[in-house]
């Protein structure tokens, strides 16, 4: 009996230490991020971004927009994308074999006509049926191809893109008008940059007109508010912190920018991959940065892209399960980075962090919660241990979430009203009592599904911004 008690105790302590480690890593990242961000803000304030227009050597950008069954939003999206502020950019819309009227809508609104085409590069993709250009908008190209998934569609777009920089966005991303001016800055500041990610925010509750954010707002749904806090946490300091180590392992597919040469060198996106946006970055580290460690993958902290968050449990669940499958997939595909000193910080620190906390996290946590309840019920744990366990697992999370809201307030202040700030703080507090555990549970289920063979994508239902 004594032995069992010791084992249970040891086990519980391990899980406690696990929770402690996660939060402590985040707190450290938070502090790093704070300093980095205040420096960034100081630099950007008096730079007059639009001066880029005066330069003679700005870098042209191709913006690739993969679209699958987007007939409701595509016209609005393209109209607002055409208004982006940038001296030289091309829009490449890839219709990924939609079975609705996406292509028809483009015909009706942009007077596109078929052109003859030859892919410039040989990235793998499903066959392209035809290519269209618009007489009205000379920088608009539409590619119509056989359905092959997002990664496949992006590859087809890269094959026909003419600019040295490639920006990939989702068809339903709402972009800030100066986002291209901001995303090229890292490329201009440092020739070794090969990929840049943007910061994504939640658009629910914002006032959007023709694909432009007019007023930043908060959704009435608490589920959406929790996600706002989650995104703040992930982008503001998750990525800022790792960026210091040149250790960005994931760039959100909703807004990312690459050097075309780098994409071509690694043969583009991996078709059929579940989390293609993470996979491609890991592969860049693995292939390109191994050869030339000077290369940089970085990101910009300004909010440049807004995306709709699911407001129902059902959709959120399938999104989280899909993300978890993507993470697992990317990590397992590149498992030989794990503790591999040849890859420096990435191999020794960042990749193990992702494997241990992002991939296995939900398993350990779910297991931990159950084990704790179980052993508490059997009277195996002391009161002081129970208190310690619950504070670490829950209250430490509260500290973290609230800190991320504070960080946003100190750096960007994108939520104009005091009441919004207060409800964000409330959301940061509340998300730790139920919401976080729920997403952990979904991620756990995603993992189970991954290993039991259901590796398909799951559908994302659109709420749509069109009013």
């Amino acid at each position: 009996m004594e032995i069992i008690k010791y084992i249970v105790f040891g086990f519980n302590t391990l899980i406690l230490l696990y929770f402690l480690a996660v939060c402590s890593i985040y707190i450290t990242l938070n502090i790093i991020a704070f300093f980095k961000m205040s420096k960034y803000n100081r630099t950007i304030k008096y730079l007059d971004l639009k001066r880029v227009f005066k330069l003679t050597n700005y870098k042209p950008i191709s913006v690739i927009v993969p679209a699958y069954n987007e007939e409701n939003g595509i016209v609005e999206s393209i109209k607002s994308l055409l208004q982006l502020e940038y001296p030289d950019f091309q829009l490449v819309i890839v219709n990924d074999g939609s079975n609705d009227n996406t292509l028809q809508k483009l015909f009706e609104n942009f007077s596109i006509r078929q052109v003859s085409f030859t892919p410039f590069y040989k990235l793998k993709s499903q066959p392209i049926r035809s290519v269209y250009m618009s007489s009205e908008y000379p920088n608009l190209i539409v590619i119509d191809k056989v359905n092959g998934g997002k990664a496949d569609a992006i590859n087809a777009g890269i094959n026909l893109a003419k600019s040295p920089l490639i920006t990939v966005i989702d068809a339903d991303s709402v972009l800030e008008r100066d986002c291209l001016l901001k995303i090229v800055r890292p490329f201009m500041d440092d020739e070794n940059v090969i990929a840049v990610g943007g910061t994504i925010r939640i658009a629910n509750g914002c006032n959007i007109l023709h694909g432009n954010i007019l007023n930043v707002g908060l959704s009435k749904s608490w589920l959406a508010r929790f996600q706002v806090v989650e995104y703040l946490r992930a982008f503001l300091f998750g990525r800022n912190g790792f960026d210091v180590l040149n250790g960005i392992l994931i760039i959100s597919g909703a807004f990312s920018c690459f050097s075309r040469d780098a994409l071509i060198k690694i043969d583009g996106y991996r078709a059929g991959c579940i989390g293609e946006d993470m996979e491609i970055i890991v592969r860049m580290h693995r292939k390109l940065r191994r050869e030339n460690p000077k290369l940089r993958i970085t990101f910009i902290p300004d909010p440049v892209c807004w995306t709709e968050a699911p407001e129902t449990f059902k959709v959120l669940r399938s999104q989280r399960m899909r993300w978890q499958k993507g993470t697992v997939d990317s990590i397992l595909l590149h498992k030989n980075l794990f503790m591999n000193p040849a890859y420096g910080w990435i191999g020794m620190l960042v990749f193990p962090y992702f494997a241990l906390f992002e991939m296995l996290g939900p398993v350990i946590e779910i297991f931990g919660y159950f084990f704790f309840i179980f052993s508490f019920a059997l009277g195996f744990v002391t009161i002081s241990f129970a208190v310690a366990f619950l504070t670490t697992a829950i209250l430490y999370g509260v500290v973290l979430s609230v800190l991320s809201v504070i960080l946003e307030e100190l750096s960007f202040q994108r939520y104009p009203k005091l009441s919004q700030l207060l409800s964000l703080i409330a959301a940061a507090f509340l998300e730790n009592f139920g919401y976080r555990q729920l997403t952990t549970w979904w991620r756990f289920r995603g993992m189970v599904e991954y290993f039991t063979g259901k590796r398909h994508w799951g559908k994302m239902e659109k709420k749509g911004f069109v009013k």
């Binding site: 406690l16 402690l20 420096k39 100081r42 630099t43 304030k45 008096y46 007059d48 001066r51 880029v52 005066k54 330069l55 003679t56 050597n57 006509r113 078929q114 052109v115 003859s116 085409f117 030859t118 410039f120 590069y121 250009m133 618009s134 007489s135 000379p138 201009m188 500041d189 440092d190 020739e191 002391t382 002081s384 241990f385 208190v387 310690a388 504070t391 670490t392 209250l395 430490y396 509260v398 500290v399 609230v402 800190l403 504070i406 307030e409 100190l410 202040q413 005091l418 700030l421 207060l422 703080i425």
Partner: protein, 373 residues
Amino acid sequence: MSKLASRQVGMFIYLGVFLVIHIDIFSFLALTIFALLIITYILVIQVVLLRLLHGYQTKQEQKFFAVWEERIFNYLEGDEKPQTLIKKIRRGKYIYLLRYLREFFLMLKGDDFAKLSSLINETKLQPFLLSYLQSGSPRKINEAAYFLGLAKSEASKRLLRKKLRSENASVFLSSALALARLNDIDAVFDIFRNARHFKFISKDSLLAILSEYTDDVCKPLFQNLKREKNVLIQSITITLFRHFKFYQAGEMVLKIMVYSPSKDVIIESIKFFSTIELFEASTALRSLITHPKAEIRSEVLKALAVLGDESFEQRIWDRMYDSEYEVQYNAVITLMKIIPGSEEKISRFAYGNLKDRAAAIARMVLSERNIKN
């Protein structure tokens, strides 16, 4: 507020040390986290207070604008002296005024600009900004340098040059930008020299700053280019020549390009020749058309669209079979531009060889052209 916070933190550390001696490690852990929670709580209150303060300041700023807007408009219209206008403003509000003026400075020129700049240069605002420039805070220095540069404040030149030697990158960049707006020609070489101390200041960031100069900057750069060995500075200089369309440098840049091993220098030179339409360069381009680097071949073809003539026809046709698509693509476009009647020949080629890659690219160019017309 922060005093209160630090006192509370101190209290908790004391409490923590006391407790760790008397109780077990788990209670200690729980207490630490509670302490963190309380610190966070204090931070929240602080942030809310900051927000309220910020809101108050914004209101103040708006009130200030409401009152001052018309006075400033009247000043821009009439004969009021800048000193009398500024005298009415309290020193604490100077920074509001400057932020308000920022857009006017960027948008207006001529008489309006002269009036705006004397608002800074002939009043107490100037010593105010100079004192900011001499302070230790990079934030203040950047702010001051920005406005002194905008207003072309001659009196700040000496101090700004000193700030160029700063080890803080943002201070270096902001003072370099100010000097460029002031058109302080001699500072160019200081900018070059000091930029080397920073690892991450790139060619593009320097160019963005240097293009704020007027074209007066070309002459000394021209003199310097004769002796300059640094490839980066060479290519920046040539890019600036292109920006200012400095025709005089054509011949010298041609000489430099012919012997330069640097891809960057060669590409910038070719672009420069095409911008200033230096036909003498076409002989040199003739040999570069088969350069091993595709970027150079491509750039040569683009330049030939301006500088080339019929004698290039065969060489350009050859490039349609290049291994790189960009070169092939540019070859077709250039051919159609400089060889009269070549469109017909190209379309015969394009539709006569359906399996050929060069022909496919030609078809693409033709149909894209068709759409645009």
